[in-house]
């Protein structure tokens, strides 16, 4: 069956999905974010909130104000417009303490890739990543642009409690998990950056469409940076805003 995009999918009686494709590609994600930005600009009263993902936008709306057909038609009209606005993403530099007790899977990732741990760190911190989306958990940052050599399948048995600040690889993606939670990803290291901090303003730092690069820090730098992060400092550096 061939599917033509964008297309509309119902998601219960109070949400719908505008799907732009079915893959993980920068251009596809840019269209989702541009569409999201356009909706924010239009300020439709019936829309409660939107959730951009790799390839679709989930739109929560109030069905007492508008029905699926009518809202759907309006959104499809927006979605097929040419020249959607695009937001210039920001670029974040994020420190990582790689390996040791913070990166319990670094050796295994290196062995699987046929690289030394130093080479894994160099490749992982040498790339620039696109923030495709935040989701699942608060501040969980899904990053694309991983060196294919570092791609590592998720673990058969997820860990019941992966630590806060985990920097890890899941398949062809890498990501930042901000709070402690179960995870099947392969853990390379840990960052003192809180992508989510409920007692800081702003609560969230990184937006979908931003870019991230990592740089290694020494274990002895960890304590001070982690305390500063907990106290509400950003730690992550924003370059070319």
């Amino acid at each position: 069956m061939t599917v033509s995009y964008p297309r509309l999918l119902p998601c219960g009686d109070s949400a719908l999905v505008v799907e732009f494709g079915n893959s993980i590609e920068p251009e596809l994600n840019r269209r989702v974010l541009a569409f999201d930005a356009l909706l924010a600009q239009e300020q439709l009263r019936a829309i409660r909130e939107t959730v951009p993902t790799y390839r679709s936008l989930l739109v929560h709306y109030d069905p007492t104000l508008i029905g699926y057909e009518e809202l759907g038609a309006k959104l499809m009209d927006f979605a097929t417009r040419k020249g959607l606005p695009s937001r210039k993403g920001r670029h974040w530099r994020v420190p990582v303490a790689y390996g040791g007790e913070f990166g319990i899977d670094l050796d295994a990732v290196a062995e699987r890739a046929g690289l030394t741990t130093e080479e894994v760190i160099a490749r992982h911190s040498g790339a620039q990543y696109r923030v495709y989306m935040l989701g699942f958990l608060p501040g969980f940052t899904y990053l694309g642009g991983l060196d294919p050599k570092l791609a590592t399948p998720r673990r058969q048995e997820p860990r019941l409690e992966a630590p806060a600040g985990m920097i890890a690889i899941g398949g062809i993606q890498t990501g930042i998990q901000c709070i402690a939670a179960p995870s099947g990803w392969n853990i390379l290291g840990r960052t003192p950056v809180r992508t989510y901090h409920p007692r800081r303003d702003p609560i969230f730092l990184i937006e979908p469409g931003d870019h991230v690069t990592f740089y290694p820090i020494a274990m002895r730098e960890w304590g001070a940076l982690d305390r500063a992060g907990e106290a509400g400092e950003w730690i992550a550096e924003m370059v070319d805003a």
Partner: protein, 319 residues
């Protein structure tokens, strides 16, 4: 101000309102009451907005003492025994707890969650417009976690009034839980879809505010069980690799990588969330236009709950 002190409490009891919005794009889920209908009744009885924060009492019991003043409360939702200083107290009507008085609420006899609404409300600091506890996110006010014994909720002091209020309960219509197909209904085979609607499902004991696992026949995927992650809503019915559906609820992850074959309609979510572990349910499909009609009727019903509340004279022999 007065306090409601938690003397004893089981797990899964927390402060909840209608949940937060605006941050699902950052992965922060909505949380909020599992049964918004009973939340609305408990609030309306004590003169609060139907969406205000109340104590969501989990399947086991809890005990509270009023400290610093009288506290007027109302219980609604899952049926359970309750006593005020040892004498019977009832669901669906206001209860005035005198200063030093003790309210004891038993385990749920049917259903799961009972809401304790409080006149004057619970003091706290909203984040994204909500006091709701999201334990994983470390959010919620006044405590960013489920309640523990010794906790003190700062609450309104009861007004002096000669009358108490009572709610005339709705008839909850039994029958299947209604769903709208999609967004990924094509991810399972047609036979699996027929099984989903034909089978009786059992709510697994491994269920919580994040979601209810359903046990029954194995649903077969048409073409693998991984999708490129997309957004979830309360009531999304996800089918992971093991073919056993998981209905995502208030504390769900905001995105997920398993297909979601159907979504429970808003009007049936409260009833679904009140299904105990071991309880059996069936699903029925509803066209979206009809589901939205039900959603509008449900919203109107919530806003009119106040009309079903009557004034009752304080019953002298319970003084």
């Amino acid at each position: 101000m007065s306090f409601l002190v938690v003397d004893k409490v089981g797990p899964a009891t927390s402060v909840q309102d209608r949940g937060r919005s605006g941050a699902q794009r950052y992965g922060l889920t909505s949380s909020g009451a599992m049964d918004v209908t009973s939340l609305a009744i408990a609030n309306a009885l004590v003169g609060r907005d139907v969406s205000a924060a109340a104590v969501e009492i989990g399947p086991l019991g809890a005990e509270f003492t009023a400290v610093g003043g009288k506290v007027r409360i109302a219980l609604a939702g899952a049926d359970r025994a309750a006593t005020l200083d040892g004498r019977g107290a009832w669901l669906n009507e206001t209860v005035l707890i005198p200063e030093g008085g003790k309210l004891a609420v038993g385990a749920a006899r049917s259903g799961v969650f009972t809401y304790l609404g409080i006149e004057g409300g619970i003091a706290g600091k909203p984040v994204y417009g909500s006091l709701s506890v999201s334990a994983r996110a470390g959010l919620g006010s006044p405590y960013p976690r489920p309640l523990q014994s010794g906790d003190r909720l700062e609450v309104g002091t009861a007004r002096e009034e000669a009358f108490e209020h009572r709610f005339k309960p709705f008839l909850v219509e039994p029958g299947p839980i209604r769903v709208v197909l999609g967004p990924q209904d094509e991810a399972v085979t047609q036979e699996a879809m027929a099984l989903f609607f034909g089978a009786e499902w059992r709510v697994s004991p491994r269920s919580d505010r994040m979601g209810y696992r359903l046990e029954g026949p194995k649903l077969t995927h048409a073409d693998g069980f991984n999708i490129v992650s997309d957004g979830t809503v309360p009531g999304s019915i996800q089918v992971p690799g093991n073919g056993q559906p998981l209905a995502l609820l208030a504390d769900r992850g905001t995105t997920g990588g398993y297909p979601k074959i159907a979504t429970i309609i808003t009007a049936d979510l409260s009833r679904f969330a009140q299904t105990q572990a071991g309880g059996r349910i069936r699903f029925a499909s509803l066209p979206i236009a009809q589901a939205q009609k039900e959603a509008r009727r449900f919203a109107a019903m919530l806003s009119q709950i106040g009309e079903r509340i009557g004034v009752v004279r304080r019953i002298a022999n319970r003084e």
